[in-house]
Symmetry: C2
Subunit: 421 residues, 2 copies
């Protein structure tokens, strides 16, 4: 297939999405919720078929020698399929953001001015080889009135197409344009590159995944990009911390699920409590099999830790590895976070009021916590409902992106003949 053919193909997909998106604006919440519940039901009914199709993708990935973690994310198990179905039902149960008037006020000339939530239009999502994202993302975009173009990792292509088909079939049953959900049927990178030029039809691109992909999308895209980038998250344990609490948080932030973006990657410890805090904590990490990499000061208290290099401070391990640094002050901790952090999630443990407030105000991250685990940077945990990911872009949505973050507001004005003088 020639390159011109890819250009045509993605142009057609984008145009169809734009047309479908105009229809979605006027869809009732009831219809949207019924569609979501019906897709959930079908996923359950057709899970054996889905698993068979997924097996092809998995076998291919095994031949290509992908890691166990990669294969895990790629595999559709009963549990994952049930999770997708439940997820859709949860989104159906959430309030519809579209049409909500978030504020309304009156002007001196009698005009009533309001801000009304509307869909963004067409959203393209570029994601890893995780087929469940196909359904999660389609469900959130559909509920928020957006048409979606899905471009998952190439290893999951067959699974993604099959999942997309179930969604499209259901849309058709309910007389909703099926092009509200489209899975790009080829893994060609060139096609994605053409897609990123179509700002006339696509209103937003959300890339999830590795640095290389995100850099590529940022460079090429002409439409706005909301990055879901890495989490180099810190916990700073202050000299005035409750050390028992600090230990529990430090263990939870690292060990509860080390492979996710809101897991802690670097622990910062105030020098005055390092001797008391670190040896005890290190014993606990040992039980979880965590590899520790420390600054020279840390090594004094944890002799079995490896010495950390400059790269360790930048590292998103996503694994049972932790960098530890002893700092002289809160200010040094904040400076370290500003230099090495990724604006994702940052926590302080302290009983000192002024230091807690300083940290909250000054640290630039999508979520900043006092005396709580970094693992709470999550749409569900923070109370937004389901999320499409965690934005590390400041514009539009900084932090977890739920249904509201997939909308924008337009101004509506009720007048009775007002003119400007």
């Amino acid at each position: 297939m020639g390159e011109g053919r890819f250009k045509e193909m993605i142009l057609e997909i984008a145009k169809k999405a734009k047309i479908a998106s105009k229809n979605l604006v006027t869809l009732s919440s009831n219809t949207k919720n019924e569609v979501l519940k019906r897709v959930a039901q079908k996923l359950r009914e057709r899970k054996e078929e889905l698993k068979r199709i997924n097996e092809k993708d998995v076998n291919q990935a095994l031949i290509q020698g992908h890691t166990k973690a990669f294969i895990d994310r790629l595999t559709l198990t009963d549990k994952i399929i049930e999770g997708m179905a439940k997820g859709l039902e949860e989104v159906a149960a959430l309030p519809d953001p579209v049409g909500e008037v978030v504020k309304m006020w009156k002007r001196p000339n009698g005009l009533w001015v309001g801000r009304m939530r509307i869909p963004l239009g067409v959203i393209a999502i570029i994601y890893e080889s995780r087929p469940n994202v196909t359904i999660d993302a389609a469900g959130l975009c559909f509920k928020s009135g957006n048409a979606v173009i899905l471009r998952g990792g190439k290893e999951a292509l067959n699974s993604n197409i099959a999942l997309g088909e179930i969604f499209r079939e259901t849309l058709k049953e309910f007389n909703v344009p099926e092009d509200a959900v489209q899975v790009i049927p080829t893994p060609e990178r060139k096609l994605m590159e053409y897609m990123l030029e179509l700002e006339e039809y696509i209103d937003l691109v959300i890339p999830r995944g590795g640095e290389g992909l995100i850099r590529f999308v940022t460079e090429k895209a002409r439409m706005p990009v909301i990055k879901h980038y890495k989490g180099v998250c810190h916990v700073y344990v202050d000299n005035e911390a409750d050390l028992e609490m600090a230990k529990i948080i430090a263990i939870n932030a690292k060990c509860q699920r080390p492979g996710v973006c809101n897991a802690m990657e670097t622990l910062l410890v105030h020098k005055d409590i390092a001797e008391k805090f670190l040896p005890d904590l290190a014993e606990e990490y040992k039980k979880y099999g965590v590899e520790l990499r420390g600054c020279p000061e840390t090594l004094k208290y944890i002799p079995w830790a490896k010495e950390a290099t400059e790269e360790d401070w930048y590292a998103e391990y996503l694994d049972l590895i932790l960098a530890i640094k002893v700092v002289n002050s809160l200010e040094e901790a904040i400076e370290h976070i500003s230099k090495y952090g990724s604006n994702h999630t940052e926590a302080i443990v302290t009983e000192n009021y002024s230091k807690a407030m300083k940290f909250l105000k000054e640290v630039d991250a999508s979520v900043v916590l006092v005396n709580a685990s970094t693992r709470f940077n999550d749409g569900g945990e923070l109370g937004l409902g389901a999320e499409i990911g965690i934005s590390t872009t400041k514009i539009h949505a900084y932090g977890p992106m739920g249904l509201e973050e997939l909308t924008t507001t337009k101004f509506i004005v009720f007048g009775n003949g007002q003119i400007r003088t």
Copy 2:
């Protein structure tokens, strides 16, 4: 000067802006307001000097044969200088958005979660040859805690540098990093191109101006872009409109200030009232010297109008020219707006409740009005206070961008030892 030199120059500007921006986050509202008021005072004190410098720019532009409208926008008069000073004082009087917690709620596990407004960081603004924008934009960015890089039209360079210097001098007096406000000292387009690659230092680019410039910025920029694009604004006069009100609104929307983006460019009239409404309205437009370009149906009622071509429906005249089209229904009006409109400002005049609501809900524009002039799409008029312009990008801020729209929110979380299980 070689190209490498431009790269270095803009990299240095961007880095300095980033450093300054970190300092701005912690600045008190009082200090910010004092700075703004002092800049206003200095503008008044030094207006003769400013006018002398501006004269150089104006003389050069006259030699180059620019239009009268262009020269008007470029010229610093007493009135314009007083307007800048007053504008700064108004911004000083507005509430500081930074630090505002827009919402706060409690989670079942006892966590308190809030969304706190923070500055975006570094904003680059690319604008026309209008020196007053230098002060307006710097004032709004500074008050909202952002460092700003200003790149105005090359014809205004000397004026912009002089105005920037007054702002910087004042920052220094108050011990605020002067690099919070930087005017790019050379008009080289290549330098702007390099700037658009610096997503590590610049958080947002706002281009104002013509189609070519906006296209260039959209293509090249790696950071988010909020476009302030053209306004092809419509007024639809329904068959159930109060025709007297419709006339007043149609005249105001076109004639009150034809050179601005929220002026009406196309009038849509329902066929059932065209015969009654159009001849009378045309007489009124004649008094204002408005050139009318109509569809064939329109020409039946206004024989002296020119025939409109396809291009007229797309045109942003910014002048005393108006396109008029007779439509068969509200639906046809909405379709016309969807096809030819620019998502800027759209108004309906009707006494019919259902049609008013349908228009409000279905028309996709940053501001949609019922029974009011399009001229109200303006931050001041809608109650946001001063504005940096009107965004036609849906992401982040759709419509007038005031102080709040120059911020984002981060999540702040108050815990007492919560972990995830």
